[in-house]
Symmetry: C2
Subunit: 215 residues, 2 copies
Amino acid sequence: MSSLQLGDRPNTYPTRVVATRRLGTETSETRAGLLDATEQLMLDSGYAAVSSRRVAAVAGVRPALVHYYFRTMDDLFLATFRRRAEEAFAHQQRALRSTQPLWALWEVSRDPRGSVLTMEFAALANHRPAIRAEISAAAERVRMQQVEVLTEVLAGHGVTVDDCPPVVAAVLIAGISVLLALEQGSLGMSTGHGETIAHVEGYLRRLEGERRVER
Amino acid sequence: MSSLQLGDRPNTYPTRVVATRRLGTETSETRAGLLDATEQLMLDSGYAAVSSRRVAAVAGVRPALVHYYFRTMDDLFLATFRRRAEEAFAHQQRALRSTQPLWALWEVSRDPRGSVLTMEFAALANHRPAIRAEISAAAERVRMQQVEVLTEVLAGHGVTVDDCPPVVAAVLIAGISVLLALEQGSLGMSTGHGETIAHVEGYLRRLEGERRVER
DNA sequence: GTCTATACTTCGATAGAC
DNA sequence: GTCTATCGAAGTATAGAC
């Protein structure tokens, strides 16, 4: 094995950024394909595997096109994140408005693709300041939306703030989801996962009853 | 900004691995310094920022020395992981044998350095098969040790398996720790963190009483 | 809109002097 | 044990032809 070539260079590349550069439109099919390729690479091999050459290869175009649509790699990452974040937010909103919001939130959170991308973007944010603020804001937005709904739903089931504050429920669900995805996806490990899922679902069942198929 | 140069190359480097290469001893001070540098880079900038040149720079030596002590970068990552994993395991063992094992386990798990490194190594494992098995085994070992002790401790406090199976408690503590570290460390976000910590510690207090300083 | 060609930087890894 | 020097590959980004 071997490899890995960086992650956080003091950018000394010939980035003159002439400001006169051309840029593709946001509605382009090709552009969307590049976002797809980026997402796929992040899922399969992690953010560090995303390079203009590889994205281009996966998308079936030449590397220079990547820079035609995205001035820098940071721009590419940001665009990929934005598209995904919007989808995820809308998806969660639908879940929270369903007839079994707790079950639905649990299922949405447990989607491993979402958890893996969340971790990858968080890792990316760790050393790319330009991306950090945006990811942070989106995560905050998602949690606040959960808290808003959970406050009402939990109260409706007689769960008091002393039992479990809504924001704590939100953190718990997120924490469990991330850990399971990390262990199963990255490490192929699953000790305790079944038991944990059963335990959570037992709790959901006591509150919202049996899960009714509407997935 | 810019940068990032890979993570998972189809190794086409001139890795002839002649097998006649020299290799430094495991007890070397310099070697330990290289492991320190690797760990620091991972904490500060993520695993993708670890390159032989950068490790050498942080350690204050020349890049070729990295390859004198570690044949490949994978070897360097593995050695860094092993050292850390042994420390962490011993640390946890001491905690679990203390007079307030639940409190101690919670505090050990909450060390953000540990959580961040855990995530970085998991991300690394995601696309470095050579490393994956070892990390997975270590994580499993840590969890099993927790379960062993938790089984006795929880039963002693009258917590039945129906209330909360020991392995579920272990997963919950790990999940919360990882999420808090990820959000606070990588994203600078802390919504709900204080409430969650208070909630967990309220639970610990009911089981083991007030935390007695022995940290 | 897409491509070829190219500039420049960094990477992993090795050979061989000291 | 540590260094200099070097190879070959891959990275970001740009210019300019088509």
